[in-house]
Structures are given as structure tokens and as C-alpha cells.
């Protein structure tokens, strides 16, 4: 009887101790989350406030940079969309990105299938070799590629980027796609082949539809890679109407020493938020894809 009472009291003490520890841990998690979110988003949050400020408000060092000391204005955002080539930049980025993604899938999907399923002795090393091409940086190749671009007559043309960007997107995409294709059960294509499809037919009709979610993830990933690229775009193209977002915004919205700060920040936020939103939707799939690519299937 007495022993039970003691143990109950002990249990109570233990429970309180764990509860306290739990509360502490939760507080830690929330504090870290707040801090991390703030540090990561701070420049964009401030950019968002900046974008809607009046000049007299913005360019007064006494004013709080975080508050609207004068009424907010949308003038500078409208200026960005109406008076600057920003819309052209967005359009260029979009069509270059879509074409590059198309080329990437057209070349990368068959390659990934070859590496994932048509077991050759060289499949593994070849997959790793292709992935390592991703580590060959634009800063090593831009000089010779700019000479090549001149040689094929594409200098100052946005098409030069369509030609060159697949070298960045194909290696990563092949890696990711190999992972996604390995995840499709072998029975699916064997059944399709039994039903009379050729190997190629089975790939196109049976495997591709099942790998579709993975393919969408690769499309998003490849597109963001092309949208972010800076060095090639800066080296190959100088007319402002041929530029994309990543080079157009920092070079064209800064004229000499004049910075159009509100419009610049509006452009940054307008580009950053949609990309991050889409990326978030696919994050778990990217992670799955990157680890699957490394697993022998």
C-alpha cells in the first residue's frame, strides 16, 4: 500500500519533469522557427515594404524603414510593369525556361530510362558521371561558350540560352528522373510488353504515366535552374529586350548610379514568391528523387 503511494508520487514527479522538458523543447522549436523564418525572409519582407513607399518617405534616413511614414503608393510597382522592360524579362525567362525544359525532358527521359532499367554494366558509373557534370560550373565554361555562341551567330540573342541551358538542366534531371523511373514497379512494363508493346512502347505508354508526378517535379526544378542562371546570360546577351529576369533586373533597373529601389524590390518579390510557392509544393518529391537516384534499383 505504502509502496504504491510512493511510486504514484514518483510517477507524478517524473511526469511533471517530462512535461516541463516538453514545454521547454516546444518553446525552443518555435523560437528557432521564428528566428529562422525571420532571417531567411527579412530582405524580402523589407523589400515588400520598400516597394510601396514614396520617395520622400524612403529617402529620409530619420524615417523608420519598416513603417509607412507617409501613405503607401503603388506608383513604383506600376512603373515597374509599365515603364520598364520587366514584363519582357519575365516573358523571356518563361519561354526560354519552357523550351529548355522541353529539350531537357526530350533528351533526359530516354537517358534516365536507359540508366534505370536497361541494365548495362556501365549504367551506375555513367549515371554518376552525368550527375558530376552538374558540378562543372558556368564560371569555368562561360568564356569558351561565349566564343562558341559568337561562332554560331547567336550572340545577343535569347536563343543562345536555349542552346546552352540544357547543359545545366540535363545532368540534374537525368539523376532525378532515374530515381523516379526506378520507383515504377518492373511488373508494369513487363505486363505491357506481354500485352504486345515493344520495350519502347512500354516505356512511353506504361512507365511514363506512372512517373508523371516525378516528371512534373523535374520540370519545376529545371525551370528554376534556368530562371536563376546569371553568368551565361550576362556574358552572352547585352540588349535589354533580350534579357531575362535574372540579368535584366539587376542591370537594367540600375542605371549608372541611379537605383530604382522600389521597383527593384517589387521585381525581386514578384519573382521570388511564385517560384518559392511552386517549389514548396514539390519539395518532398525532390528529396525523394535525389535519394532514390542513389539507390540501386
Amino acid at each position: 500500500m505504502a509502496a504504491e503511494v510512493v511510486s504514484a508520487a514518483q510517477a507524478e514527479r517524473l511526469r511533471r519533469r517530462y512535461a516541463r522538458r516538453h514545454v521547454l523543447a516546444r518553446t525552443g522549436v518555435y523560437l528557432t522557427a521564428l528566428l529562422a523564418a525571420f532571417v531567411c525572409a527579412a530582405p524580402f519582407l523589407w523589400g515588400l515594404v520598400t516597394a510601396f513607399k514614396q520617395n520622400r518617405d524612403l529617402y529620409n534616413p530619420q524615417n523608420s524603414p519598416f513603417l509607412f511614414n507617409l501613405p503607401a503608393t503603388s506608383d513604383h510597382v506600376l512603373y515597374l510593369f509599365q515603364q520598364t522592360p520587366f514584363v519582357t524579362f519575365v516573358w523571356n525567362t518563361l519561354w526560354v525556361g519552357l523550351l529548355v525544359v522541353g529539350i531537357t525532358l526530350a533528351l533526359g527521359l530516354p537517358a534516365a530510362y536507359s540508366l534505370a532499367r536497361l541494365n548495362r554494366p556501365w549504367s551506375g558509373p555513367m549515371g554518376i558521371a552525368i550527375f558530376f557534370v552538374y558540378l562543372v560550373p558556368p564560371s569555368l565554361l562561360f568564356l569558351s561558350l561565349s566564343r562558341i555562341v559568337v561562332a554560331v551567330g547567336l550572340q545577343d540573342s535569347t536563343w543562345s540560352l536555349v542552346l546552352v541551358y540544357p547543359t545545366i538542366t540535363i545532368p540534374v534531371s537525368v539523376w532525378l528522373l532515374t530515381g523516379f523511373l526506378k520507383a515504377v514497379p518492373r511488373d508494369v512494363e513487363e505486363q505491357a510488353m506481354v500485352d504486345g508493346y515493344s520495350r519502347l512502347g512500354a516505356f512511353v505508354r506504361a512507365v511514363l504515366p506512372l512517373a508523371f508526378p516525378g516528371i512534373v517535379a523535374v520540370v519545376v526544378f529545371a525551370f528554376t535552374l534556368t530562371a536563376s542562371e546569371f553568368i551565361y546570360a550576362l556574358a552572352f546577351i547585352s540588349p535589354s529586350t533580350a534579357k531575362g529576369v535574372s540579368t535584366g533586373v539587376p542591370t537594367e533597373l540600375i542605371r549608372g548610379d541611379v537605383f530604382f529601389w522600389q521597383s527593384l524590390q517589387a521585381a525581386t518579390v514578384a519573382v521570388a514568391v511564385p517560384i518559392a510557392l511552386v517549389f514548396n509544393l514539390f519539395l518532398d518529391r525532390f528529396i525523394a528523387g535525389f535519394t532514390m537516384g542513389a539507390v540501386k534499383g
Partner: protein, 311 residues
Amino acid sequence: MAQVTVEREARRVDRRAGGTLADREGFLAWAMLLPSVVYIVALVAIPFGLAIAFSFSDVTAGDPSYDWAGLATFRRALADPVFWRSLSNTFVFTVVSMALIVVLGKVLANLLVADFRGKWLVRFLVLLPWTTPVALSTVAWLWTLDSIYSPIDWVLRQLGLLDGNTYWLGKPGLAMASVIAVHVWRLTPLSAVIIMAGLVAIPKDLDEAARVDGAGWWRRMLEITIPLTLPVVAVAALFGAVLTFTDMTVVYVLTRGGPTNATQVLASWAFIRGIEGGDVAQGAVIALFLFPLLLAAAVAILRAVRRMETL
């Protein structure tokens, strides 16, 4: 139904025996892979060879005809003190950023695998630095570190810690710190995502078994979590290193290598010499110095991945 199974078996045997289907697979394997390989060889391997060839030449944008110059261009590039400044800056930026990226990435990864309310919003905000095009996020930083209107300065002034302005990008030491900070800020989410992939892959039962056996948090951390995540942390570190080492965007947009080349790195110096200065040969020489370290990083990543597979 039975016939189908028989047919299937027959095909399997057929393939194993190296019949016509196996032949076709061998052909298909190459035919499907070849376009990608050709593309990469044409636009990565050949330009790479060309870059090496350029560095032994006197090619300029004005006179693109190829003349062999031997080591003259190397000598010219190495005689320039800015080159050595860029080389050491590149190393300083890479080593310091890599260390910070890994430590902060680990913290962030632990956060992203935890469960808490509002996680989707935190995840969205935390990924912003990585998903935003580098040039644009650097523009946002350029404004945040502005010489007069920097909000950081404003806060410091309100707290009475600062009189006047800090000039983040105007003083050599502060400019270097700023460049490193922006690199760490933009690459930490990436390393967090890589490490997160590793954390998720750790079998839960291992941790639970250790817990049942009475292992405390530190013990589990030191003997299970860290050894099991070490390879993936190494991969994250090397990716961070490669992306910092070869990047010129942050330096180019933030400081253009200034003040007086204090933040110049190999990539930006190669660009300024090779494209803006038109001295293609010298730019090629400077960029070529990126390669040995890249190769080392690639080998190291390969080793780390191998270790991960054997686990």
C-alpha cells in the same frame, strides 16, 4: 491466364539467354542515352577543352584568331596581384561559408523535420533564399546593406550602438563579411534540405531501440545520429563549397569585387578580365584555377556517397 504467364516466363528466359530482345535492349540502352551524352560532350566537354586551349593563347574579343602563346598568358595573369587576392579571397569565402552553411544547415534541417504549427509558412519563408534567383536575392541584400538607408544601421542607431552609418560594402573587412553572410544565407536552406533527406533516411527503430536501452539524447546524438548523417552532411558541405567556390553572382552584384578588389574572387575576376576586358585568354587562365579544387570536391562527394551506400 496460364498462357500469359508462360509467355512472360518465355520472354524472361529469352532475355536471360541473350536472344533478340536482349540485343535490342543493348541497342536501346545506347540509343536512348546517346543524345544526352552528345549534348553534354558538345557543350561541356568541348568548351572545357577550348578553355584550356584558350589559356595557352592570346585570344581577345577584338582579335579572336588563335595564336599559340605558350605560358605567356599564365605569366601575365599570375604577375597581377589582383589574381592572388582573388585566389585567397575565394578560399576564405569558401572555407568560412562552408563551415557556417553546414552548422546552420543542420540546425535548420532539425527544425524542418520537427512538427509544429504554421510549419508550411516557416518552410516557405525558409526556402526563399534558395529558390529565388541569386541575382535577385543579392539585389535585395544590396538594398538591405545600403550605405545610407540600411535598416540594419537604422536599428543600430535606434539602439544607440551606432553613430552615422556602417558602410557594410565600403570597408574591406565588412564587405568580405557581407559577401560571406549572403552566401551562407542563400545556401543554408539547400544544405538543410540535403541533410533533411539524410535525417529522414535514418531508420526510426534504431533510435527507438537505443532509447529503450537507456541511451540519453547526447549518447544517441553522438553514437547514432551523427555517424549516420555524417556522409550526407559531407555531401551538403561539398555542395555548399562548390557553389560558393564557383559563384560570381553575389560578388558581382553586391560589390563588383570592390572596394579595391577586396572581395574579388576567381570567378568574378575571370569575368571582368575575360568578358568586360575582352582578354579571353587571361580570363580562361584565371577560371582554370577553379578546376583542381572542383575535381577534389567531386572525388570527395563520390567517396561520401559510396559510404552512404554501404551503410
